[in-house]
Symmetry: C2
Subunit: 310 residues, 2 copies
């Protein structure tokens, strides 16, 4: 009952099938879109509470955004330049009764009715922090101490996969620090330390490594190399669906003044703000816990249980 | 500081502006898509905990679905027949590097690039229970006692509005009962009673009334009348943005065997299951609390505070 999953070194789909068999995830018919069992949710709840306790001294301001944001915001953000293949734009039917009759007839015949829709003003949020920068910029200049935010959002990335650690819809908890280069890099360093300690305390094997985002196309390769050369992105990796290719469960990003310049985030003296963030992949971390400690949480190691169910 | 909002009897937008001014909601530039302050989230958390306590004796099975579900599931559900105008379908860019260059050129020129996308297999979830029925049907026949589920999901409805109680993206907590007609109508009646007591205990004025869904078009009027004649839908209404038109914060629905027939939900003897649900509009209830008790939760009535922060 509580045996950790057989190490699925090559086939993530075997790990996924094991999660379905254990009733932790539920099939919907689309890769990367699953139902979650109550106990899966409880593990996420408890892990989030642990993260909150690790962050309590920082005094972050909690803000929440829904899983969708304005299309104009995504267009301005540069996301469509770097990751066009991952973005999701919400389209809706805006026709009259005659158009509706056509839609139903097409649906009845099994034809593609989706072109009868038009793009709305809403896109799906690709990372929890995207709506934050323009929201904070609208609140006026930063104080000298900068600012720190605590976010959580469902995110969408169009990358259907049978690796359960690569869902199309997943939750990200994120802390975002705005301030000077020194302030935000010190914040990132403190979470590189805290994140690794936190994951190790949960009995999970992990390494922290330099990383890059999956930029699109040939030009994207240069962006990725540049990001690596400057040490802008680190990831905390845990073997989840594969021992050979561990999964990024936490990421630690320094954006320099990219978002500050883009959205006009600045101090009272006009200096452009830098930003950094730490993101926790909530489904990924829960999956890592089930992978290494087994499907029965009652039989997880005592030290892990006492930490989560504190 | 703690004055309840001036009764915005005619203009919901005044109530919305008051929420922005108080920092409880944050503008994003799109009607019905807002950031939420930490205290707004905390009120939702505490209200949800109260609902959980009211339901604890029922022993519901918790399941969670993400804010998107398979398009095929929505197509089969009949939603596009009844509410085509509210549905949201996720489209993504699936082109090559040349297509991407075209997209960026159109974006640069301010042209409509959205037609370069194709429909994905994902649509946004319109109500928390939609993905549940096929999921439960796949688990085999129901036992004689039926089943009860505890759901929570972000939902999308394309109805941009300046009434803050009509968001495009909002959260719904929902209990869904599957069983015989007697079992599910008794469940609904118990929540009609419990729901009204719970809202009254929070110091909110409310009435329960017969209701209908916003079915599309002329044919929809007949469906709405039919739904009313059969007493299938009740709503608990609280004045939120308007005193004249109170807002449905809870709804109590009896689906007869509609979902049971559609998805093959049946008992071991082959009898088709009936279903009923109670839905809690989490943003709407939080808005009702701020509307009636003021923007400063520290100054809310003691009996309300002690109930929520129990």
């Amino acid at each position: 009952m509580n045996a950790p999953f057989k190490a699925p070194t090559t086939k993530a789909v075997d790990f996924l099938d094991g999660l379905f068999d254990a009733g932790l995830l539920m099939r919907t018919g689309v890769d990367g879109v699953y139902g979650r069992a109550g106990i899966f949710e409880e593990v996420i709840d408890r892990f989030e509470a642990l993260v909150t306790r690790a962050a309590v001294g920082d005094g972050a301001t909690r803000i929440h955004f829904p899983p969708g944001m304005p299309r104009r915001m995504l267009e301005k953000s540069g996301y469509l330049k770097s990751f066009p293949q991952l973005a999701g734009c919400v389209h809706s039917f805006m026709g009259n009764e005659r158009d509706h009759a056509q839609l139903l007839a097409m649906l009845e015949k099994g034809e593609d009715w989706t072109e009868l829709q038009q793009a709305t003003e809403v896109v799906l949020t690709p990372a929890a922090c995207y709506p934050l920068y323009p929201t904070v910029a609208a609140q006026g200049p930063l104080k000298p101490a900068g600012a720190l935010f605590d976010l959580k959002s469902y995110c969408f990335r169009h990358e259907p996969s049978q690796d359960p650690a690569r869902m199309q819809l997943f939750r990200m908890r994120e802390f975002v620090r705005l301030g000077t280069a020194e302030q935000v890099t010190a914040f990132r360093q403190s979470w590189l330390d805290r994140g690794e300690r936190l994951i190790a305390a949960l009995g999970l094997p992990c390494v922290v490594d330099l990383a890059n985002d999956p930029f699109f196309g040939r030009a994207g390769k240069m962006l990725a190399n540049n990001q690596r050369d400057q040490g802008l992105k680190f990831e905390l990796l845990i073997p989840v669906a594969s021992d050979d290719k561990p999964t990024a469960c936490l990421s630690f990003n320094y954006h320099q003044d990219h978002f500050g310049s883009l959205w006009g985030l600045q101090f009272e003296d006009g200096e452009i703000a830098h930003s950094a963030c730490v993101g926790f992949g909530l489904e990924r971390t829960a999956l890592a816990l089930f992978r290494h400690h087994g499907t029965d949480v009652e039989a997880w190691p005592d030290e892990v249980r006492s930490l989560l169910w504190a």
